[in-house]
Symmetry: C2
Subunit: 364 residues, 2 copies
């Protein structure tokens, strides 16, 4: 019996997550492993899994509990990690990624998760799910460890597009705020625009223009605009959402990840370079574990595609089972909060506000 046939018995809390099992560098094992972790702690989660059914079924054979909540859909094709988005669009039909997104398009799943090629995933998602009316450029939002009570800040765009004009940055602010409201439970998220200084006269022209746009309309969008922020504010507690273009956001996030990784190596080295240090590491093991858990990037895995008709989560390509389960948890949380519908409503009302303010200007 597939979960499809069983759908009538679902509780209202049930969320069906569509999974691309073939993307990613760690293979199908990591995906199924992540699903198993999520299914164990969350009885309301069901899966439609797209990919090589022989591989998937072999992995499910010894997991009857998980298997009973999984609908396996065979897909012949796999989109490789280095495929150009344009080629993926032309030849991707019937691939596990394409079909995973189609499950959201058809409404049989609330949200899709893939560890595959980001560019291809965004291109196919735009084709299949289409942009929300009023959205010019969809964006990818990521969580980043911060000093805030939630432990995270939201940053967007992480690389859906290379550039963003003032109007795009305003939409990122609105979409990021909607994500923070539904994903992190923040009522009135604080938004900052990423710049190379906090003074009003700093930065590129589109940033100054975006600052004015967001500032004048913040109330109608349920945003608390705090002004320009700098790279050092990525982990800051004075902001919840950091808005920037996809080029800058991608570089900033990867630079921060790279730094975190280097420091992890230095830390390991500091506790292994002498026999005495190794003894110290034993005494310090609880402290080191506490640190490791706080900075483990696997716990914050999942870029969310914003601005489409439906929610898509891009998990890290190198994701292991723990990372995949973090992405699934995020997918579940957003789906259950009705994020997709709320974001669409927010964008529609934003478009109305813009239209009104434009016509007011016209009349003035």
């Amino acid at each position: 019996m597939t979960i499809d046939e069983d759908r009538t018995n679902f509780s209202p809390d049930t969320v069906v997550v569509s999974i691309d099992a073939m993307g990613g560098d760690s293979g199908v094992e990591a995906i199924i492993g992540g699903m198993e972790i999520s299914a164990k702690v969350n009885p309301d989660i069901y899966f439609i899994v797209h990919g090589d059914s022989a591989q998937i079924n072999a992995l499910l054979r010894n997991k009857p509990e998980l298997a009973s909540r999984v609908d396996v859909r065979h897909a012949e094709k796999v989109i490789s990690m280095d495929e150009k988005p344009s080629r993926a669009l032309r030849g991707g039909k019937g691939s596990s990624m394409w079909n995973a997104l189609q499950s959201v398009e058809k409404g049989e799943a609330a949200v899709a998760v893939s560890c595959g090629n980001t560019g291809a995933l965004m291109a196919i998602a735009m084709l299949r799910l289409r942009k929300l009316p009023g959205v010019n450029r969809p964006a990818i939002a990521a969580l980043w460890p911060s000093r805030n009570p939630s432990g995270y800040n939201v940053m967007l765009d992480m690389g859906a597009d290379l550039k963003a004009d003032a109007q795009d940055l305003l939409q990122y602010a609105i979409m990021g705020a909607s994500y923070a409201r539904n994903g992190l439970g923040l009522e009135m998220p604080r938004v900052g625009l990423l710049n190379i200084g906090t003074e009003d006269h700093k930065g590129r022209p589109e940033l100054k223009e975006a600052a004015k746009l967001i500032e004048t309309s913040q109330e109608s969008y349920g945003i608390d605009y705090i002004g320009f922020v700098e790279g050092s504010d990525l982990p800051s507690k004075r902001v919840d959402i950091i808005v920037t273009d996809g080029f800058t956001g991608n570089v900033a996030l990867k630079a921060s990840e790279g730094t975190a990784k280097l420091f992890g190596e230095f830390l390991r080295d500091a506790f292994t370079h002498t026999p005495m240090a190794k003894v110290a590491a034993i005494f310090a093991s609880a402290s080191l574990k506490r640190l490791k858990d706080r900075v483990d990037p696997r716990h914050v895995n999942g870029g969310v595609f914003l601005g489409l008709n439906g929610t898509v989560i891009k998990s890290h390509g190198s994701a292991d089972a723990i990372s995949v389960s973090a992405a699934i948890k995020l997918a579940f949380t957003l789906a259950q909060s009705g994020f997709s519908e709320k974001l669409a409503a927010r964008i529609a009302s934003a478009a109305a506000v813009t239209k009104n303010s434009t016509s007011e200007t016209d009349e003035a």
Copy 2:
């Protein structure tokens, strides 16, 4: 007796460093403290110090050893940290920053160091020292901890300018390579262009154009061009110099610094949150100190202004004595290697190469 009068007795290894004592958030004490640290370990260093002579002389009173190598020049004015560059240009004459740069202009000092306002320092440096013939946009280069044998990578531009076209990025590559040759002792520095992916088709048009420019001319500039690099490569050992525009560079560096700081806090917290953790910290103290020394940003303090007739080091505004002495050490190393003259020669020959290749194209 001032060092000026004594100049005839200087050894050929002597370097005179011009210091702006009034910039920075930590006051004159940090500057004089940094000079004292540097003077102790380096007998070849002399200073011309610009600022409030009463304050400076009071601090030098109990340091006769340092005082004998310092020439104090009184300056009435101080340029504040939030002064707009345009205002600093108009009203900055006679300030400690202005006069510190003028000492380099006059040739009485080989290099200038300031902890003050970056924008003002660059604006006044461009006015007083002027751009090297052939340089369109000067740049600020910074060192960043890496897995390379030297322990550092060079990154530029860190925010001298908001944007850079392909020709600017080529000049950054040449200037960064010259800096790495003289500052880090690398014969044939490896240069990477910062992008959001390493594939050739990724990124903005000016990056693709710059990639072609650098690739075709790398041999004549003594550069090993390795292609596009990503934010995660900031600490990488596959590259020595990371070239990017000033907006992206500034955000990436500050984001990385912010991450490093957050992890430092998490580390402290991990070793203080319980009595047991505090005991562990005692056993781990040697390891923790080793880690701290490796990641201490105070040891890599100093952005170098490249592309001017003369070398200027911008130290962190919040620099303490250790940071200031790191900036002075960098100033000394670059001055003693004849960096400024070598860079000028390199740029001149690059201009000739460009001119030749252009005229060749014209003839073709």
